[in-house]
């Protein structure tokens, strides 16, 4: 599961562009993730601020 730290995210959209599944979307000033996320962790790496974390279930 992808956890979005809204307190850290600066809504830049970098993660949206690298997500291979198109699971992320930047809606004005907040980021959303949908059910198509496969927990690949690519977005987690790219974030300039460290706002994303894949939580292993």
């Amino acid at each position: 599961m992808l956890n979005i730290r809204r307190d850290i995210c600066g809504y830049c959209g970098a993660c949206v562009s690298v997500c291979p599944e198109g699971a992320l979307e930047l809606i004005d000033a907040y980021l959303t993730v949908d059910h198509t996320c496969i927990d690949c962790g690519i977005c987690e790496k790219v974030c300039p601020l460290g706002a994303l974390e894949v939580i292993k279930e």
Binding site: Y11, A14, S17, V18, P20, L26, V46
Partner: protein, 397 residues
């Protein structure tokens, strides 16, 4: 908001604005939607642009020009600094813009020419008819509108989703994105007419640090690192904090700006039936500098012109929009993208030692002109062993 337009533009950055202005001036009905509540904010840009590139579109105006840059400085990983004077700095010298004001000015010009503009209006899905785009579902202030259009232009930036929803894969490979962080700083000791670029794996692996002055003692201090180099504890912001505490320990940070810049190849095709993709959404930022303002304005204008022609012909199918794609690829910008991509592929893999050697050897030359071409030639001269890897580059020389 009407239910039908000739042209619907998703995104109110420079690409969308130029498309809107161009098309509405030629008589098309144009609707532009921007999901943010304000045009131009938040800024996601280092705000530099080459002088002659800008004047291709509009005369320079002190309203949105912060500084006129006279010199550029390139700092090697070992600290050696090479100064580029105007005579040879060519493209690297230009203006530092105030994007908040600049972007508004562009939209204002489009609106003044007759384009309808809507803010806090977000495209949530394309309207598809027989497998082709026929408009978009727009949400604004809690209401949902089905807006039909003969042509839709996706100008929705790095976080573009519209083209993907319409079936085009726009994913940027992780190692081909620059992840960036920048502070707007005041109270720093800088030459306000000089831009500085720092190279090296210590300061910015597979990227660079920039200092772009915006006035006396004020500058955008930022950096980008390769996506493949980013991770917990070594993200763009970590590198920036380290650089800033070393260079400007007493400076004040008055804004944090972050963003991603694609340095991949452009999308294989930037048109589809009834749709064109412009600017960052088309993945056409410069792979070396990361610059994208000019490219967005250029493709925006070209897409606007193409829309006018296609609608006049009564055919907005892919083939009829194809001139947009082939023209920008064949343009000076398109060729520079090709060449700079090839150069980037080599540069981002260089060790600090090699970068030092190259910068030292370039500094010794009395260059008449400083351009990517001279850089490549020097690269080869300083590193004959790279010649093999660079074979595919020769066609650009």
């Amino acid at each position: 908001m009407k239910r039908q337009y000739d042209l619907l533009i998703i995104g109110g950055g420079p690409g969308g604005a130029l498309a809107a202005k161009t098309a509405v001036e030629k008589g098309l009905s144009v609707c532009l939607v921007e999901k943010r509540p304000a045009i131009g904010a938040p800024v996601r840009c280092a705000e530099g642009i080459g002088k002659e590139l800008l004047t291709d579109f509009l005369p320079p105006d002190p309203k949105w020009i912060c500084t006129d840059i006279e010199r550029a400085e390139l700092i090697a990983p070992d600290g050696f600094s090479m100064l580029l004077e105007p005579r040879m700095a060519g493209n690297e010298v230009g203006y530092i813009l105030d994007r908040k004001v600049f972007d508004r000015e562009l939209i204002w010009k489009a609106a003044e020419a007759g384009a309808e503009t809507y803010v806090k209006a977000r495209a949530t899905a394309p309207i598809m008819k027989d497998g082709a785009v026929a408009g978009a579902v727009i949400e604004q202030h809690g209401k949902i509108y089905d807006v039909h259009a003969d042509i839709v232009i996706a100008a929705d930036g790095i976080e573009s989703k519209f083209a993907r929803w319409a079936g085009i894969n726009t994913t940027v490979p992780l190692r081909e994105i620059e992840t960036c962080a920048q502070y707007l700083m005041t109270g720093i000791d800088i030459d306000s007419q000089k831009t500085s670029f720092f190279l090296g794996n210590e300061v910015a692996p597979a990227g660079y640090v920039w200092i772009f002055p915006k006035g006396d003692g004020i500058a955008n201090v930022g950096l980008g690192i390769g996506g493949g180099k980013s991770g917990a504890g070594h993200r763009a912001k970590d590198y920036l904090d380290r650089f800033v505490s070393r260079m400007f320990p007493d400076g004040k940070i008055i804004e944090l700006i972050i963003g991603g810049v694609s340095i991949c190849k452009p999308l294989p095709c930037t048109v589809a039936d009834n749709m064109m993709i412009v600017g960052d959404a088309a993945r056409i930022s410069d792979p070396i500098t990361g610059g994208g303002i000019y490219n967005a304005m250029y493709t925006g204008r070209l897409a606007g012109e193409t829309a006018v022609n296609a609608i006049e012909l009564g055919n907005t199918k892919k083939a009829s929009l194809m001139p947009y794609d082939s023209e920008w690829r064949a343009s000076k910008m398109g060729k520079a993208l090709d060449r700079n991509y090839a150069v980037k592929e080599v540069f981002t893999k260089l060790s600090d030692e090699k970068l030092n050697t190259i910068i030292h050897s370039i500094a010794k030359l009395n260059l008449e002109e400083f351009s990517t071409l001279t850089l490549i030639t020097e690269l080869i001269r300083a590193n004959p062993s790279l010649l093999l890897e660079l074979k595919h580059l020769r066609s650009f020389l």
